[in-house]
């Protein structure tokens, strides 16, 4: 076939798909994929090691948010999770669905204002949201199983993700909006960030309706 580029660099993608489907250790999958694509593109083994090392070094900022762990641990040591659960178990009105629904709205609205850093899995979901949602579920269903507890906790994490993903694009200066603007600009199409961000609003509303509906349905099943 003429006009098609060499397909060997795609080995890495195949490794990723197969590796995750087999539930292999993700670290090993990523390294294998890096070697697959690197060697497929004609790099030598030392070149792949160097390219990986350079990128790993440059991407250290990705790991900086772990600096919050000692603080969260200190708060847990003082009983933060217990207090969050106690607060919820005293108030009948705070059901699992309502807690997660309110958090979803809060996360979408604050993300739309550009405040994506004020919440997250380490800062809010583990110490506050998950214990609250779990305490409410246990209060309303004293016979709750370990599996059902885990489902509630997973839903708390999922709610944080849906909230931030479908809120942040309404904010003008978020990286994704700037990426779209930059891409179109390089193709000679000038658009304003506001034009792009208003088109994130319908999906944000749909996300609140769809995920919120699932939260309410989860509450009715319990």
């Amino acid at each position: 076939m003429t006009g098609l580029p060499s397909l060997w660099p795609l080995i890495g993608i195949a490794v990723v798909v197969i590796g995750f489907a087999m539930r292999a250790n993700p670290l090993a999958v990523v390294v294998a994929a890096a070697f697959g694509s690197g060697l497929g593109a004609g790099l030598s083994v030392p070149e792949v090691v160097a390219a990986l090392g350079k990128a790993f070094h440059q991407n250290r900022y990705v790991s900086v948010p772990w600096l919050a762990l000692p603080v969260i641990g200190l708060m847990e040591r003082a009983g933060l999770q217990e207090q969050a659960a106690a607060l919820i178990s005293r108030s009948k009105a705070a059901t699992t669905s309502r807690i997660l629904l309110i958090y979803l709205g809060f996360r979408q609205l604050t993300s739309a204002l550009g405040l994506t850093q004020i919440a997250g899995h380490a800062q809010t979901v583990r110490p506050l949201l998950a214990p609250m949602a779990e305490a409410a579920a246990a209060r309303d269903n004293p016979a709750i199983s370990a599996d059902e507890r885990n489902t509630v906790k997973a839903m708390a994490a999922a709610t944080d993700n849906v909230g931030i993903f479908f809120g942040e694009d309404i904010f003008l200066a978020i990286a994704s909006i700037l990426l779209i603007k930059g891409f179109l600009e390089s193709a000679g199409i000038i658009v304003q960030p506001l034009q792009l961000s208003v088109w994130a609003i319908p999906t944000a509303i749909a996300a609140f309706a769809v995920h919120g509906g699932r939260l309410l349905r989860m509450g009715r099943k319990n």
Partner: protein, 313 residues
């Protein structure tokens, strides 16, 4: 000027402390491997600049090898008992929530204030620097208020870090894989292949190929930002906008959101999907993806319909 260098030094000290605590933990089943794992992360933060690319690459491979050998594992970090926590919660009540507000509060205030204070903080790194500053202020406040043992920040940090385990380095490693895919030209190949999947002149097929490609390529890369230039360059711009006269604003903005639906489904998006499962001690590594897939699929259909219905009017 305070910037990333200072944050990296702080992170190096924190991980160094965790390594030392693991080394001194006589009850840790994999004490030496755990200490080596944390020490390598500390090394990367403290003296990574002095290492060559190959040196950093070997360090990374050593980390992965240690992880496959069971590092970091779980030891016995000194912490409070369940009874002590309940007693502390009863004594301090809702005041315990106040320190939880320090980090987001400082992050918020710093993001708005630092740019007005001249060159104290690197303007490009305001958010991360504020986050690090907030963590230090919150830790100091908790230490002064509750007077736990001096080693408590390190031991508590280690307890949470051991809970997350090897997944701690997964987000950084995935970002590196993205860079390697870029070097290997994976994006260009996918961009060249993608248009071949579309029948000539069919609008709905072209829209489906674009939003489907955004979602699938995002699942593979773990990041819609990596998929966007590829799919927009391969299908969005040449086929939908230039070929079929679609509005570039709608195609671009909603296409990105179709990619976000893929992020909700991707184990490669470790920060959002795999790390939280570890943080919440969920036995199923994919539990968070399982919880969000119906939302993702419905919203992907919604975004596809949005482009189909509004980009061509």
């Amino acid at each position: 000027m305070i910037g990333l260098t200072h944050l990296y030094a702080l992170a190096g000290v924190v991980f160094g402390g965790i390594a030392l605590a693991a080394l001194l933990d006589g009850q840790h089943p994999r004490r030496l491997r755990a200490a080596a794992f944390w020490a390598l992360i500390a090394t990367e933060f403290l003296i990574g600049d002095a290492l060559s690319d190959t040196g950093n690459g070997v360090l990374l491979l050593a980390l992965v090898a240690l992880a496959l050998l069971g590092a970091p594992g779980k030891g016995q970090p000194a912490t409070s008992t369940a009874a002590q926590r309940s007693a502390s919660a009863a004594r301090h009540g809702n005041r315990l929530f106040l320190p939880a507000l320090i980090m987001p509060g400082v992050a918020l205030a710093g993001t708005f204030l630092f740019p007005h204070l001249g060159q104290i903080v690197d303007p490009k790194q305001v958010t991360l620097v504020s986050l690090g500053l907030g963590a230090m202020i919150a830790a100091a406040t908790l230490m002064i208020w509750l007077r736990p043992p001096l080693a408590a920040p390190v031991q508590e940090g280690r307890r949470l870090a051991e809970g997350v385990g090897w997944a701690m380095i997964l987000p950084q490693l995935l970002a590196s894989l993205g860079a390697l895919f870029a070097v290997a030209g994976v994006g260009e190949i996918v961009g060249a292949l993608a248009p071949l999947a579309i029948p000539e002149g069919s609008r709905i097929a072209a829209v489906l190929a674009f939003t489907g490609g955004m979602a699938i390529f995002t699942v593979m890369m773990g990041n819609a930002f990596a998929a966007f230039p590829v799919m927009m360059g391969g299908i969005g711009l040449p086929v939908l906008v230039l070929g079929l006269g679609g509005d570039p604003v709608v195609v671009g903005a909603v296409g990105m959101l179709a990619g976000f639906c893929g992020t909700l489904l991707s184990p490669m998006a470790a920060n959002f999907n795999i790390v939280p499962a570890a943080l919440l001690s969920l036995p199923d590594r994919y539990a968070v993806i399982r919880a969000q897939w119906p939302t993702a699929v419905i919203l992907w259909l919604f975004n596809t319909a949005m482009i189909w219905g509004f980009a061509f009017s």
